[in-house]
Point group: C2
Chain length 189, copies 2
């Protein structure tokens, strides 16, 4: 809406777009503070900034990518990360030489892929806060352990297996097929 030059938006408009109730929108915002103006609505620009601040998106997040297979290299060249202030600042694999060609070809310039053994040092050096695991499922837990050792507190796991981490660390598992399962269910019933 901001890009389209719209200045103000009401809870009713937002509700329609999100297919929810207008009171819901207001209550949800109210949980974090007061952002609107009575009789007017919400200023789009302000609301956008407020939401970004609440979600912690008003700054850059530095990430490491571990496991440069098909999915890994796809993520490396995923342009939308940049738009959203997410930045992959290091890439690791167990066999850097083997994968570097594939990555370079895609991005048009050589990309530095380091051996996993260098994860710990590099994570500190480059102030990495989020690790993205795109290894085979069999390696996911041990990679997670390395990330914990390196004190990388956020982990995004694309491997089809659940990962355990100590208190204070956060994991989100992304199961590709679970969205498909949902589709299959809806199409069946």
């Amino acid at each position: 809406m901001d890009e389209r030059g719209e200045r103000v938006v009401s809870s009713a408009q937002l509700a329609t777009r999100c297919s929810v109730n207008a009171a819901q929108v207001r209550k949800d915002f109210a949980y974090f503070g007061e952002f609107g103006i009575r009789g007017v609505g919400y200023y789009v620009k302000d609301l956008l900034q407020d939401i970004k601040r609440i979600l912690g998106l008003n700054r850059e997040w530095r990430m490491a990518l571990i496991g440069i297979g098909n999915l890994g290299s796809a993520l490396l060249s995923y342009k939308d990360f940049l738009k959203q202030n997410y930045k992959i600042v290091a890439a690791f694999d167990i066999n850097p030489l083997k994968v570097i060609g594939r990555v370079s070809e895609k991005l048009g310039k050589p990309v530095e892929v380091l051996h996993i053994s260098r994860l710990r040092d590099t994570a500190k050096e480059r102030k990495i806060e989020i690790g993205i695991i795109t290894t085979p499922a069999s390696e996911a837990q041990s990679v997670a352990n390395l990330l914990v050792e390196a004190e990388v507190r956020g982990i995004l796991n694309f491997a089809p297996t659940q990962i355990k981490v100590p208190e204070g660390y956060v994991v989100r598992d992304v199961l590709f097929t679970s969205v498909l399962d949902n589709l299959a269910y809806l199409l069946t019933n």
Copy 2:
């Protein structure tokens, strides 16, 4: 659990694994029928089959992939689809010749990539029920329109934009960054 040879499981065990209440597990199952044996628990093999049947996973799902970029070709070679009875039986792009090399290289054998104009015929011919959109956001809606024309009733959209379809069709949008946003929020607070 089945692969590990476990025969029986209780609602309490399932609850622990899923970090929920045991009554929750039983109530959820009860919604679809009676699957357990009082005083014993649930037979793992039977439960697995029952759940697959409920979700509509007890058969093959034939899918088309549209947009063979980085993510698209990663999905083409995603082995876990097969394990779960999902099968990509056709691939489309606006420029088949341009992308065929990249795909072939990965899969080791040439893969047939058809021009989008052939989507409609091919969808019917190959009995496709699910379409996966991995095009740029700008093309997503028009590809969705083609899928609707071809009567492909399920759409999995990886493009970072929301798609509209008529009644009777189902869309699931997969927003990569929303999981990251969630991580960012949890790490901030």
